[in-house]
């Protein structure tokens, strides 16, 4: 009985402690990123490109992929490509984009097999053999997704509520993301 109680206590502690750690780690990572006080996607993007040493492309999710995932990050040997669901509100669009950028900053990734049909459907002009990693904003059970989601929440919720009236000049985001 005592062993069961101990296990239960350990489980409860893990359940309570793990999310707090993710949030705190995320805050720490944002602090380490050293973004200026007033920043936008341009500065965030350049900071990510600088950190990863490779260009970053942001593209709308192909129309033939309906439903989930909302966003997808694909890493090739030359660049990072982020796909974002375009058929949604501006806020959600930005959130998905930041979620994928969170993956990049955390250095997450799932190795894919060469010749993956998903990859070829996303970037027809790309040789699937060059794709090193792919990660979709779909499965939230694993820690990587939780970290990326926390990153997006922390950053965007802070932005939209931190500006006082809950607004920010969002047009720049769409313009940059669709460029």
């Amino acid at each position: 009985m005592s062993s069961f109680a101990r296990r239960l206590g350990q489980q409860a502690r893990r359940t309570v402690q793990r999310p707090a750690t993710i949030w705190q780690e995320c805050e720490q990572m944002l602090a380490d990123l050293g973004l200026p006080a007033r920043y936008d996607l341009t500065s965030l993007r350049s900071r990510i490109e600088q950190r990863r040493g490779r260009p970053l492309r942001i593209l709308p999710k192909p129309a033939d992929i309906v439903g989930g995932p909302c966003g997808l990050w694909l890493s090739t040997d030359r660049e990072d490509v982020v796909f974002v669901e375009p058929a949604t509100s501006n806020l959600h669009y930005q959130h998905i984009l930041l979620h994928e950028l969170g993956h990049l900053l955390y250095g997450h990734g799932v190795l894919v097999d060469s010749g993956n049909h998903v990859v070829s459907s996303l970037l027809p002009d790309l040789d699937p053999a060059n794709v090193r990693m792919v990660l979709a904003r779909e499965q939230y059970e694993d820690r990587q997704e939780q970290e990326a989601e926390t990153f997006a929440t922390l950053l965007l919720a802070g932005w939209v509520w931190g500006s006082g009236d809950g607004e920010r000049p969002d047009s720049l985001w769409h313009a940059m993301a669709n460029s």
Partner: protein, 422 residues
């Protein structure tokens, strides 16, 4: 019963004092909170009836311990505020001077109280005057000494309050809003009235000590003294209420909570249809709860949108297929028709039906700002109950399989999950 009430009052006072202290210490540099915190603390200790609990321990501590504690707290509270104010205004000399005065005052107060006979006092309000009057009956020397102790105490408070007035005046010049300016004026008025209270108190003490306790002039002075204190405290309270940032923050949260409530039904629908995970409030430690309500609303919006994107493959392709050529009630309102279609898509997914390859836009697709997003989702949420009823009618009259196109299995692994904040 009395002991329980006193105990409860003591605990409540300690909680209030702790919160005020946390405000003062934790938000250094935020002027309104500093001022409010200081004045609330000062009000608590300056009111001569605020330490009923300490009276209970008179038998165990020094005579009149409650008054001694009150006086020390008053001196310490003002010293604390002066330190912060001088630090903010970069006046180290003034801060040092007042600190030295405080370090001198507190031990002198203890010494002064140790002289006090046990059974001399009539009311707390006239502590010093009754004290001096009683002692003066036994000779002028102790009366002089007590005036000295009293002078040190009042001198300390007056010096601190004078510095506070200077600080408040400079803050008044920089006040960003009219409301802030008004509250600074009220604080200044309060400080001036407290100084007047000290002055009148001094006259009363000396007068009573000299044996003029029953003269009409003394009665008038006591009346003026009491009123200056009462008006001063009211002014303090009004200033605190006017400037209280907590009130504005709380009022600002009302629409957030209303939106949370109004979107709850729609959010629960989405949560039922898509997988969930824990991202949210439990992760936030040490951050104000004020932000948590906004964070919850933000997460709720994102989760609703996640639901729409996930349900898009099940969205009916055609109104005619949904309403079966007029057999079911066809709503004239296009927004309601859209809500019914989303509800049918949700039910189709819950039943595990195969997805179509439709591309459907969520209700707030064209929302560019957060407020627009909230407004449009609220419209959808308002129609939710009606949409459920119409979906029931549609399902009753139309085979739902006909309302969705044939299987396609669109997307990568079907639906994506929604995050749950709670």
């Amino acid at each position: 019963m009395v002991n329980a009430e006193l105990g409860l009052a003591g605990v409540l006072w300690l909680l209030v004092a702790y919160r005020v202290w946390r405000h003062i210490v934790g938000v250094r540099g935020r002027k309104p909170v500093q001022v409010t915190g200081f004045l609330a603390l000062q009000a608590a200790v300056m009111t001569f009836d605020s330490f009923p609990l300490a009276d209970r321990f008179d038998a165990f501590l020094t005579p009149h311990a409650s008054l001694l504690v009150q006086f020390i707290c008053a001196v310490a509270a003002i010293a604390l505020f002066v330190q912060m104010a001088c630090e903010e205004r970069d006046l180290p000399g003034q801060a040092q001077r007042h600190l030295r005065l405080t370090f001198l005052t507190i031990p002198l107060l203890v010494v002064g109280f140790s002289f006090a006979p046990v059974h001399y006092r009539t009311t707390k309000l006239f502590y010093w005057s009754d004290f001096t009057q009683t002692i003066s009956e036994h000779g002028w020397s102790p009366f002089g000494w007590m005036l000295f102790f009293w002078g040190v105490y009042i001198g300390n408070l007056s010096h601190g309050i004078w510095l506070c007035i200077r600080y408040l005046q400079s803050s008044l010049r920089e006040a960003a809003t009219r409301r802030a300016a008004l509250s600074f004026r009220l604080f200044i008025a309060s400080c001036l009235l407290i100084l007047l209270f000290f002055f009148l108190g001094a006259v009363v003490i000396v007068g009573r000590g000299l044996g003029y306790a029953d003269s009409p002039a003394m009665t008038l002075l006591v009346f003026a003294m009491r009123n200056s204190e009462t008006v001063g405290m009211m002014s303090l309270l009004l200033g605190a209420v006017t400037i209280n940032t907590g009130i504005s923050s709380t009022l600002g949260l009302v629409p957030v909570w209303l939106n949370l409530v109004r979107l709850r039904g729609l959010w629960l629908d989405m949560k039922q249809a898509v997988p969930t995970m824990q991202v949210g409030a439990s992760q936030r430690r040490g951050i104000g709860r004020l932000f948590d309500a906004r964070l919850r609303l933000y997460r709720r919006l994102i989760e609703i949108h996640d639901g729409y994107v996930t349900l898009a493959p099940w969205y009916p392709s055609d109104d005619a297929e949904v309403y079966g050529g007029g057999r079911a009630a066809f709503p004239a309102d296009p927004v309601l028709r859209q809500a019914v279609s989303w509800e049918l898509a949700r039910r189709a997914k819950l039943r595990g039906e195969p997805a179509t390859h439709q591309s459907a836009a969520p209700p707030s697709m064209d929302a560019q700002t957060l407020q627009e997003d909230i407004q449009q989702l609220r419209k959808a949420a308002r129609l939710r109950r009606r949409a459920h009823q119409l979906a029931d009618v549609v399902e009753l009259h139309t085979p739902i399989a006909a309302a969705v196109a044939t299987s396609h299995g669109g997307g990568l692994n079907g639906g994506r999950s929604a995050d749950v904040l709670e």
